[in-house]
């Protein structure tokens, strides 16, 4: 599960850390009862470390443990800071495996040591921060905090480069939350100085007091993650409810959403936009509910009026989701997902790059899923055939760049085909013509 390169990297980090820590002056100085302070700070580190919170996605965890390390930098010096960081080895998070523990312990020890040396280099005073020397201490501490955060992120970045895809870290998770992660790391690093300063008044109680706001922030983050999960689940359930109207299109929204996200990642959309396109894909056909069932289920050619009713569904969809606090782009994607590059689509007849990017992405995923699903009038096409159809439509119906991106994304990631649909139990809930299917355009009665 951990690649050889990653093992090599971890071993290198551990070796460097041991070398540096061993060569550092091994003494605890600064304040009375240094050993007791060290153990308290180690306990604080462990508590902070074990309450890591998911930040945005489940892969990126965030923890305020750097406050403990940096408090040790000020109170006890670099060696103690390294010892505090090394406690990560015995982290109480059980799901961690040995390589992860080794790496975390070495990384945090190295971060603490580097921060401590930076602090000393800028003439920071080790011990209780005194009022007279406080200005110098602040400058040195700021440098120490910056070094700590920088070392931490550099080492994590290294492991991600070497260990891509093995599950320790995911690229998009790391990138999407980097600014927020850096900001919160620096913000909480500041607490190290506060702990050090309060220590001379209230001793170990300082660590406890500082924990309170930390835990509250953690609680709020947890609530956020919980609400986010609930939100996604509810959205899914509601979309499924909408799709039960038609036997053959079940799961269509979900699959289009996945396809759109694959394309979005392939063309390098930011994570906010990727989230938005996920919802847009899921909801793109919600307006179909506004189309009378008898029109959707009609076997023969459609009259002009009936065709117009179908053409209205993107607008209807927009009407439904307009008030959700989405990105504006997601609404555009829903409204224009049936536009064509050559300008012959609906509802507005936009052409080329007048069509919003979201809509061009959803159009490709939409047509692809329609073709690879079973319909009442034909069997599902194979992926190869469907891609050939997409290529054929590139430049007239689809944006060629998006089609290429989708094909490239399909090379990297597997596409889960819908369950092969049997004959539905209830024939009345079947759409006979699929407006999404580019190989079988809707038949409209021509009026001479």
């Amino acid at each position: 599960m951990v690649s050889r390169a990653a093992w090599l990297y971890i071993s290198a980090v551990v070796a460097i850390t041991v070398l540096f820590v061993a060569s550092a002056p091994m003494h605890l100085s600064g304040i009375p009862h240094p050993l007791f302070a060290l153990v308290t700070l180690q306990a604080l580190f462990l508590v902070c470390d074990s309450v890591k919170t998911p930040l945005i996605s489940r892969q990126t965890k965030w923890s305020p443990s750097s406050a403990a390390t940096l408090a040790a930098v000020v109170l006890l010096g670099p060696f103690a800071a390294a010892l505090v960081g090394a406690t990560s080895l015995i982290s109480m998070r059980r799901q961690l495996h040995l390589p992860e523990r080794l790496f975390n312990g070495a990384m945090h020890a190295l971060c603490g040591l580097a921060a401590g040396e930076a602090y000393l280099a800028l003439h920071g005073h080790v011990g209780f921060p005194t009022a007279s020397a406080f200005r110098a201490i602040v400058v040195a501490f700021a440098a120490a905090a910056a070094v700590h955060v920088a070392t931490n992120h550099a080492l994590i970045w290294g492991i991600y480069r070497l260990d891509r895809g093995s599950g320790m870290l995911r690229r998009e998770a790391l990138e999407s939350s980097l600014p927020l992660l850096l900001a919160s790391d620096l913000g909480y690093a500041c607490l190290g100085l506060v702990i050090a300063s309060l220590w001379q008044i209230m001793g170990w109680f300082a660590a406890l007091l500082v924990l309170v706001p930390l835990f509250v922030a953690r609680w709020a983050m947890g609530q956020f993650a919980e609400q986010q999960r609930a939100y996604a689940a509810t959205m899914n359930a509601l979309c499924q409810a909408v799709e039960t109207k038609d036997y053959y299109t079940r799961g269509h929204g979900d699959r289009v959403s996945r396809g759109a996200v694959m394309i979005a990642r392939q063309i390098g959309m930011s994570s906010d936009r990727t989230d938005a396109i996920r919802f847009a894909g899921m909801l793109h056909d919600v307006g179909k509910l506004g189309v009378p069932t008898q029109v959707l289920q009609k076997t023969g050619p459609l009259t002009e009026d009936e065709y117009a009713a179908i053409q209205l569904h993107p607008m209807r969809g927009l009407e439904i989701v307009r008030e959700i606090g989405f990105l504006y782009e997601a609404l555009n994607g829903i409204m224009h997902h049936h536009e064509r590059i050559d300008g012959r689509g609906y509802p507005m007849g936009l052409a080329g790059h007048e069509i919003p990017e979201f809509a061009r992405v959803i159009a490709v995923a939409d047509a692809f899923d329609s073709m690879t699903s079973t319909r009442s009038y034909r069997e599902a096409k194979s992926i190869r055939l469907a891609l050939a159809e997409l290529r054929k439509g590139a430049g007239t119906q689809f944006d060629p760049l998006i089609v290429e991106a989708f094909i490239a994304a399909l090379d990297r990631e597997e596409w889960r085909l819908p369950e092969p649909a049997g004959v539905p139990a209830d024939l009345a809930t079947v759409t006979v013509q699929d407006h999404d299917d580019p190989t079988a355009p809707l038949r409209v009665i021509e009026i001479p």
Binding site: Y188, V194, S197, V212, A220, M235, N236, T293, G325
Partner: protein
């Protein structure tokens, strides 16, 4: 307040009720205004005294202004300014600074600095066209004043020289007192605004505000003790962690709002699909929440009720053909039950809204004679739905009265208490549109 009395008829003192709504706010604002005037006068008279530390006043005032600028929207349309609160409370409880040692200033200065800081911080909000948030500012100001008036009399060299535990305990008590005052004023205003009972509003407010209150309280004490050695620079250091906490809360409140918006919007699919009349789910949910509030439901239950009321017809999506006019009140009980079951099934699918699913499932149960008895929320939805099916968006008094009469005549189907509150709410609704 009329929320507690179940008369079954529109309360005759309705106009007085609406006036009372404003008078609570008015009272709060005028009390704060008087306080500020007195504080300004006192401060100006005292300005020559050697106690005034301009740098501290400016630093804390700036901190408060910054916090007021970064107000925080909490679930349920509440607004808080935790960073401003930390600044103001810490200034009220400040004991000593590095250079001058023990600080001496009176509560009036604390109020003056807080008021100026809050006003400055509110100016950008006003300039951007957002509400000034006067009520929240007044609440915070009164809270700070309470704490400052008590604590500033304590601060003396001999008090500061006591062991730190002593000052800590007093501060902890005062922080809790301040939190209680703020929560109580907030609950009073809210009870007036939405027509909830005070006890319920207070309980809701406490349950919702305690995590933030805890963080603010601990930060205040940290600030006060830290200032002894770190001085005013500490304020700059503490901004970082406070901001991170605030961001965490902001994201939480944000996703909750989006969640509600999404359910509101998606519940409209039944309307767009022609299953129910336009605006039906939203009207039913508004009505149900108002009735639930009148019945004294807590905010958490009200949220479940709102979701359930918004989605109560979602089961109709599984029907092949829309019911004519969408009025479930007109179809057979067996069909009603089936729609409710199907809807509950859809919601249970989400896996996180089981209480909502229960409310939707039991909405077809009659109020009496069903074993087990339906939950209160379901009876509310049942009555609100029936009322809206008969009245719709009309505000006609007679039509509303006739619908209520029909509900009243059917006590086995519609719970008497629910109908009584519904009548009150419907009466208010009609009169507010006149």
């Amino acid at each position: 307040m009329t929320g507690g009395t179940l008369t079954g008829r529109p309360a005759p003192d309705r106009v007085a009720y609406w006036q009372a709504l404003d008078s609570g706010r008015l009272l709060l604002i005028s009390a704060a205004a008087m306080l500020v005037t007195a504080a300004f006068a006192g401060t100006v008279l005292d300005i020559q005294s050697r106690h005034l530390n301009w740098r501290a006043a400016l630093a804390f005032g700036g901190f408060i202004a910054f916090g007021e600028l970064l107000r925080l929207a909490l679930p349920g349309g509440r607004e808080a300014a935790p960073i401003a609160m930390v600044g103001a409370m810490a200034y009220a409880l400040l004991m000593s600074l590095p250079k001058e040692g023990v600080v001496h200033y009176n509560a009036l200065l604390v109020i003056t600095v807080s008021a100026i800081g809050m006003t400055v911080g509110a100016l950008p909000h006003i300039a951007a066209g957002r509400p000034a948030g006067l009520t929240g500012m007044c609440t915070r100001l009164i809270t700070v004043a309470c704490v400052a008036f008590i604590f500033r009399t304590f601060v003396s060299a001999s008090f500061v020289d006591q062991p730190w535990e002593f000052a800590f305990s007093i501060m902890a008590l005062l922080v809790i007192l301040g939190w209680l005052v703020e929560t109580m004023v907030g609950a009073l205003i809210r009870a007036d605004d939405v027509g909830a009972r005070f006890s319920v509003a207070m309980w809701d407010e406490m349950r919702l505000q305690w995590p933030l209150g805890l963080a603010v309280g601990a930060s205040v004490i940290i600030t006060v003790f830290g200032a002894k050695d770190m001085g005013l620079m500490e304020l700059a250091i503490l901004i970082g962690p406070l901001l991170v906490t605030q961001i965490a809360f902001r994201r939480y409140a944000g996703i909750r709002a989006t969640y509600l918006q999404t359910v509101r919007s998606l519940a409209r699919v039944t309307e767009v699909a022609g299953y129910v009349e336009a605006g039906h789910s939203r009207r039913v949910s508004r009505l149900a929440v108002a009735v639930g509030r009148g019945l004294g439901l807590a905010e958490k239950e009200l949220l479940a009720l709102e979701y359930a009321a918004l989605m109560h017809d979602i089961g109709q999506l599984s029907l092949r053909d829309p019911i004519p006019g969408g009025a479930t009140v007109l179809v057979s009980p067996a069909d009603q039950e089936q729609i409710a079951e199907l809807g509950a099934e859809v919601i249970r699918e989400a896996g996180v809204l089981d209480d909502v699913a229960t409310l939707v499932r039991c909405q077809s149960w009659p109020a009496r004679g069903h074993v087990p008895a339906p939950p209160l929320g379901s009876m509310v939805i049942r009555a609100a739905n029936a009322f809206d099916d008969m009245v719709g968006s009309s505000t006609d008094r007679d039509r509303s009265a006739a619908a209520l009469e029909r509900l009243r005549l059917d006590p086995a189907e519609y719970d008497g208490r629910v109908v009584a509150v519904l009548a009150e709410v419907a009466g208010r609704r009609v009169s507010s549109r006149l």
